[in-house]
């Protein structure tokens, strides 16, 4: 394999640098301040998250990435109010938040549409909870469903939809409440590669056109670089912020950029942070299994090459 000479992921073109300057001037939507979480376990307390600090600006797209066990799901569940932190604070528009609320929308990895409601009723759920009357709620729900391109399915039940369609409804349902921030916990993790790619560009379209700030958890490096303005890289045991990367890939994004030098440089950096060179595991040499040849030399197909 030839090694390409990549630029540093820290190099930004003047346009990109300018955009980040302006982005940081925008009002802060979400501020996480010295956040920590410890769980009690039979083996004693386990620190899942330790001293997490970051800010998200208005209409910013932040991805959170990290090795398994780094507490990224715990982090987003605390932000959504589904779990309580043990220390530190979560501030939304400068105000401390506790418990779940419609100001922080959430899209889960598993399909969480209400199976007993049609697509339209699912999207109306949050609108009705906020006290809107039926007609207004219905009208607004229709326009959100239209936005994710599922008008034809507004009277279908979730079990009649494909995985990608379900997640589009889940996104519409969360957006209908017009949350200050949309939290997404590996929302495309269960989808096949093609559907996932399509969902990513839908999401970028939505984000470009709607006043919404997105915090997106993923373990897919390409997805993180493709979607994010900035990437929050966590490390495991305990979950701590390792680096906050400003993605140097210019906007608007398109799949053509997957092989651009900036993209590859950023991905290489993430690779380095998340999969550091392995220490030798017991019984295994670094890259290969301990295999011996188990096919006879005179076999009809004695070699796969």
């Amino acid at each position: 394999m030839t090694h390409l000479e990549l630029p540093s992921y820290l190099d930004q073109s003047p346009e990109v640098r300018d955009r980040f300057e302006r982005l940081k001037q925008r009002p802060v939507i979400l501020e996480v301040d010295a956040l920590g979480k410890t769980f009690d376990s039979p083996q004693g307390p386990i620190t899942a998250l330790k001293n997490i600090n970051f800010k998200t600006h208005r209409r910013e797209f932040v991805c959170v990435i990290g090795p398994s066990g780094c507490g990224k799901s715990t982090l987003i569940r605390i932000l959504a109010g589904l779990e309580e932190q043990t220390s530190g604070e979560v501030l939304l528009d400068g105000k401390s938040v506790h418990g779940p609320g419609p100001d922080r929308g959430m899209v889960f990895q598993g399909y969480t549409l209400f199976p007993w409601l049609t697509v339209k009723k699912n999207v109306m759920f949050g609108l009705e909870r906020s006290g809107k009357d039926r007609n207004t709620a219905e009208e607004e729900a229709r326009s959100w469903i239209d936005l994710v391109g599922l008008s034809k399915f507004e009277n279908s039940y979730p079990h009649q939809l494909s995985g990608g369609m379900k997640q589009r409804v889940a996104i519409a349902r969360a957006l209908a409440n017009q949350p200050r921030i949309l939290l997404m916990d590996e929302p495309f993790g269960a989808l096949d590669a093609q559907t996932r790619a399509r969902m990513q560009s839908y999401l970028l379209d939505i984000w470009r056109n709607i006043d919404v700030t997105i915090l997106f958890i993923t373990h897919d490096l390409d997805e993180a670089v493709y979607l994010a303005d900035r990437i929050l890289v966590l490390k495991a045991h305990p979950g701590e912020v390792q680096e906050l990367i400003e993605v140097p890939v210019p906007h608007p994004r398109s799949p053509d950029q997957f092989l651009s030098p900036e993209f590859l440089a950023t991905k290489a950096r993430l690779e380095e942070l998340i999969h550091p060179p392995q220490e030798e595991e017991v019984g295994l040499s670094e890259e290969h299994l301990n295999m011996v040849r188990m096919v006879p030399l005179d076999d009809e197909v004695s070699d796969v090459f």
Binding site: G99, P102, G105, T112, P115, W116, F125, G126, R129
Partner: protein, 319 residues
């Protein structure tokens, strides 16, 4: 279908399923016919047609085969005419056609005494007892079960006692129920209630706990709170499973019916069964027992059909 009838955990096609369903009824009926109509299978008795020289034999009388053979030998030795008879099953095993006829005649036969009830009246009485017992139990049991499955407070406060109480057999409360509620319908309804209620609360609270917690979490991030969580998420979320539970519980309620109807003044289908057994009209007894089965099964089938109408979001229901 490659592996055909014995594919592991694969559903058969609908024609095979129907065929097997019919067969599941036909096999026991065919066995019954075999025992009834083939004189070489079982038939431990002899029905006397001609007493011959045996003084105590009468036409129509049933005696054991061994007795018949002994008496024949004695008659032969004494030079008297031989008794004649044909193999028969005991009176308590009537043949299918007799029971089938009883199905019709049981409804058309006038009661023996004036204050006695017709069969359809007895059946109706039984259905009412079941209905009220089950209805009253559900009235309290369903809400309590849902609350116990939703709030730990309700669960801790009710379930330990219910776990204890459900081990007490409902019929044990018979005497008590009569002492408190009199001898007519009320104590019977109470027995059905006791037999159903405690199981019901536990079954329903378990069903409620099985609701996917991520649906509750999703609802909370959409702004649902306390009561709307209960009424908009928990209840609609479990209603299909709840409905299935109720169908099973209704079946349990039927199993308490016979005991319940023996308490106080015997009534309903049980009264009919004991009365007919006393007159040795066993074909009527079988007809009545089979009727209970038919009523039970057809109620369940109707409820299943109704369920598919009521809950259109269910995947194609598997019976």
């Amino acid at each position: 279908m490659a592996s055909g009838w014995f594919a592991v955990r694969k559903e058969l096609d609908s024609r095979s399923r129907l065929f097997l369903g019919v067969l599941s009824f036909l096999i026991p009926i065919l066995l019954w016919c075999l025992v009834s109509y083939s004189p070489y299978v079982w038939h431990p008795k002899m029905a006397i047609t001609e007493p011959g020289g045996v003084s105590y034999f009468k036409p129509g009388m049933q005696v054991d085969r061994t007795v018949f053979e002994r008496e024949s030998e004695k008659a032969q030795a004494a030079g008297k005419p031989l008794p004649e008879g044909e193999p028969a099953n005991p009176v308590y095993l009537p043949a299918p056609h007799e029971v089938a006829a009883a199905f019709y005649t049981a409804f058309t036969t006038e009661p023996q005494r004036r204050n006695e009830k017709w069969l359809h009246e007895s059946l109706w009485q039984s259905i009412q007892v079941i209905f009220w017992g089950f209805f009253l139990s559900s009235l309290v049991g369903v809400p309590l079960g849902i609350l116990a499955g939703t709030y730990d407070l309700a669960s801790r406060l009710s379930e330990p006692f219910i776990e204890f109480f459900r081990y007490l057999p409902a019929p044990a409360f018979g005497a008590l129920a009569v002492a408190i509620l009199g001898i007519h319908e009320a104590p019977k309804i109470a027995i059905i209630f006791i037999g159903t209620f405690f199981q019901q609360v536990l079954v329903i609270s378990n069903t409620t706990r099985k609701l996917d917690p991520s649906l509750l979490e999703a609802a909370m991030t959409l702004g649902a709170k306390r009561l709307s969580l209960l009424f908009r998420v928990v209840i609609p979320g479990i209603v299909t499973d709840l409905y299935k539970d109720m169908r099973i519980l209704l079946g349990w309620a039927w199993t308490y019916l016979i005991v319940a109807e023996l308490i106080g003044t015997s009534s309903g289908i049980t009264w009919f069964i004991t009365q007919q057994a006393r007159y040795k009209n066993f074909e009527n007894v079988y007809a009545a027992i089979i009727m209970i089965g038919i009523i039970g099964l057809s109620t369940d089938l109707i409820l299943a059909w109704l369920g598919r109408r009521l809950f259109p979001w269910q995947r194609v229901a598997k019976a």
